[in-house]
């Protein structure tokens, strides 16, 4: 009988816990619905979805606090009179299913006007439809997969925008992969590349584009392979690369895997650089891979945030507040994405006599306002083309030098 009572207790506790969580997610529904007309300030919430724990969390936190700083600045400077902005950050753990749940939660919360995120292209795919149905703006500071804005046949020249509510402040892999191939072939004079990806939307897409462009430039593809995210042992892969005599390894994926691959590659005595995309452009990569990362390369969207005059205050604030995570890659883009939303809210209110329309209406009107966004952000000029892609097509190649990422080439790339 003792066992049965234990089971009953567990069941009761579990049910209790579940009920409490369910209550918890709703408690802020009541306060400040969008159409309050009093003189008191209206609260408008900007949702954030990014991986805040686990894989990719260093970059994910950079997004959360990038938005936080934008919101704090807007409140401090009273950018939109009568409105106080707030951030509601949800953790998607880099999982598409969790991202979709978060999107649903944000849409259901009628204080949330728009969302910034997610980090991963694969997660974005699961969220786009949810936001689109709710007419809610979603601006990703980091998604680079071309299909998100240009449809699945983009490479064949048939570009169709699948979701009118989805925007991004980062440029696409179509440009990033080509820029990387160009740098590897023409600047580094590498002739034979081994291409590996992690089978995810982002990684496989990027690696495919690199392979394509590198081949077209006249380079040789010495071999290809795919890995699973979460793997730790890459000895088989390393042996294959060694045997292929490639002089550069291109990896499409995140730093969680590439830091292990580069370490095991160099330990086996294969001294060729590993090159990747913005997914591995993180200080964590160097910290974890240590000396093995020396000479490795990564492309990233935009120009280095530290060289931007507009971003100086941003970086100072980020450091002063001791926010966790890594602002280097997408912090500036997250700030700009949030600012695009904030400025959009102002446009919507101005057109409505200085008041915020009812939330459903406000969300729909914000889509048009963001589409027409046109201002100078901290990471460059912010405006969107007919697909929702940023018109800022700057890219930078970084290389690990003396244990830190150093920008070696910046430029625009048009395919």
């Amino acid at each position: 009988m003792r066992h049965r009572s234990l089971l009953v207790l567990t069941a009761v506790l579990t049910t209790g816990a579940l009920t409490l969580t369910a209550c918890g997610s709703r408690d802020d529904d009541k306060k400040g619905s969008g159409d309050s007309t009093g003189s008191a300030k209206t609260t408008v919430v900007i949702g954030v979805d990014a991986p805040l724990t686990g894989q990719n969390s260093a970059t994910g936190l950079g997004i959360q606090y990038g938005v936080q700083i934008a919101v704090d600045d807007a409140n401090k400077n009273n950018l939109v009179p009568g409105v106080t902005f707030k951030v509601k950050a949800l953790d998607d753990k880099a999982l598409p299913a969790t991202g979709q749940q978060n999107a649903t939660a944000l849409v259901a919360d009628n204080t949330v006007i728009a969302a910034v995120g997610p980090l991963n292209s694969g997660v974005a795919q699961s969220m786009q439809q949810v936001f689109n149905t709710a007419n809610m703006v979603e601006i990703s500071p980091s998604n680079t997969n071309p299909t998100l804005t240009q449809g699945k046949d983009w490479n064949a020249g048939k570009k169709v925008r699948p979701f009118k509510t989805y925007f991004r402040t980062a440029t696409t892999d179509a440009l990033q992969g080509g820029f990387a191939a160009d740098y590897a072939y023409n600047t580094l004079k590498k002739k034979s590349a081994f291409v590996v990806d992690d089978k995810q939307t982002y990684g496989a897409g990027l690696a495919g584009i690199f392979k394509d462009k590198f081949g077209k430039l006249g380079g040789k593809i010495a071999g290809t392979d795919h890995v699973n995210t979460g793997d730790t042992d890459y000895s088989t892969l390393v042996t294959k690369i060694k045997n292929s005599k490639a002089d550069i390894l291109y990896y499409g994926g995140q730093y969680d895997e590439s830091e292990l691959i580069t370490k095991q590659l160099k330990a086996a005595g294969v001294n060729i650089p590993l090159m990747g995309g913005d997914g591995m452009f993180s200080d964590t990569y160097i910290k974890t891979a240590g000396k093995a990362s020396e000479g490795d390369l990564a492309t990233s969207v935009g120009v280095p945030v530290t060289t931007l005059a507009g971003a100086k205050d941003f970086i100072a604030t980020y450091k002063a507040k001791k926010y966790p995570g890594d602002y280097g890659t997408y912090g500036g883009y997250s700030y700009d994405a949030a600012t695009a939303i904030i400025k959009g809210v102002k446009t919507v209110m101005d057109a409505n006599g200085g008041k915020l329309p009812a939330m459903n209406d406000a969300r729909a009107k914000l889509v048009d306002a963001v589409q027409k966004a046109d201002f100078d952000g901290i990471a460059g000029h912010v405006s969107f083309d007919e697909f929702g892609d940023t018109t800022n097509k700057q890219l930078t190649v970084y290389q690990v030098k003396n244990g830190a990422w150093a920008a070696v080439k910046s430029g625009t790339y048009n395919g």
Partner: protein
């Protein structure tokens, strides 16, 4: 095919790791017929225990001097968690239907993973782990890292030690008796509770050795390494014949070599290009498991099923 020796060696190294972890599954299963799914996490906590010792040693300590201390630290953490798991999570459920402890094990696994994630400083990203100096060493066309040498030596020493312990010591024979028939063993004056605790403790120690070896080999540890390693080790234990300690080691080696050869060579077979490569390693590992279980349901070195009720 001239990479074959290197790929076999790669398989052997990763296989030794699977084998070391698999011992924990197989010992506990052999004695209480419980699949301790939290064992992968015990391996992970062992690695973190060793890392904690290293971080608290003064800077500049030689790695060779630190190694025994790290092993000790990892072993203490793993063994204590294994014993506590047995005492507080599994013993109260010993008479319960088999599903109850199984679910408990899964819950415990999640709890341990999240506990490390929350409370170990900086564990939300991969933590750097010290690596052994020297290497790579070259034997013919094979190149071997120092970490791999440690791993294989540790596996061999541990296996010999365990075999001697189970065969010759009084406690070892009591374990065999308990595995065959716990009730009769108890009637013969064996304290079966003590034997079960010892089985968990030995499993924990082996997991700590594997954890330390994995840290030294890969140069990093992460809070979620236990899940996949645990799954592979469980597969190895079943492949070799669950309940049999030699089977666990053999299963680990076979699994490791099969994985590395499959991901290296399947794509070379005409018409199979799509099914090769590193991402298919797990698929081939499980294909092997299914084939072995179809031909020999009791696993390679077979548990003597007739003894079980």
């Amino acid at each position: 095919m001239h990479t074959l020796p290197q790929q076999l060696a790669n398989g052997l190294f990763i296989g030794s790791m699977y084998g070391l972890i698999a011992i924990g599954y197989t010992m506990v299963y052999g004695i209480v017929q419980l699949i301790n799914f939290a064992h992968g996490e015990i391996y992970m906590t062992g690695a973190f225990g060793a890392l904690a010792v290293w971080t608290n040693l003064p800077d500049g300590t030689s790695i060779w001097l630190a190694l025994p201390l790290m092993l000790l630290g990892g072993a203490i953490v793993s063994v204590l968690i294994a014993i506590a798991a047995e005492r507080f999570a599994y013993r109260p459920l010993r008479g319960a239907p088999r599903l109850a402890p199984l679910i408990t094990a899964i819950g415990l696994s999640l709890a341990l993973q999240q506990a490390i994630f929350l409370w170990y400083p900086g564990a939300d990203n991969a933590k750097s782990f010290p690596q052994l100096p020297g290497g790579p060493y070259h034997v013919g066309s094979i190149s071997i890292q120092s970490g791999d040498i440690f791993l294989v030596c540790a596996a061999v020493v541990c296996m010999i030690g365990l075999a001697a312990f189970v065969r010759t010591s009084r406690t070892g024979r009591a374990m065999q008796a308990t595995a065959q028939d716990p009730d009769t063993a108890q009637l013969m004056g064996i304290d079966t509770n003590r034997i079960i605790v010892i089985a968990f403790a030995i499993g924990g120690f082996f997991a700590a050795v594997a954890g330390l070896a994995s840290g030294l080999k890969y140069g990093q540890v992460k809070y979620d390494i236990g899940f996949q390693a645990g799954l592979k080790a469980f597969t190895a234990a079943v492949l070799g014949g669950i309940g049999n300690i030699y089977g666990a080691m053999l299963g680990g080696l076979v699994l490791g070599i099969a994985e590395s050869c499959a991901s290296a060579y399947v794509s070379n077979i005409p018409g199979m290009q799509q099914l090769g490569g590193g991402s298919w390693a797990n698929v081939w590992a499980f294909v092997l498991l299914i084939v072995v279980l179809l031909v020999r349901p009791q696993g390679l070195l077979g548990e003597r099923v007739a003894d079980r009720a």
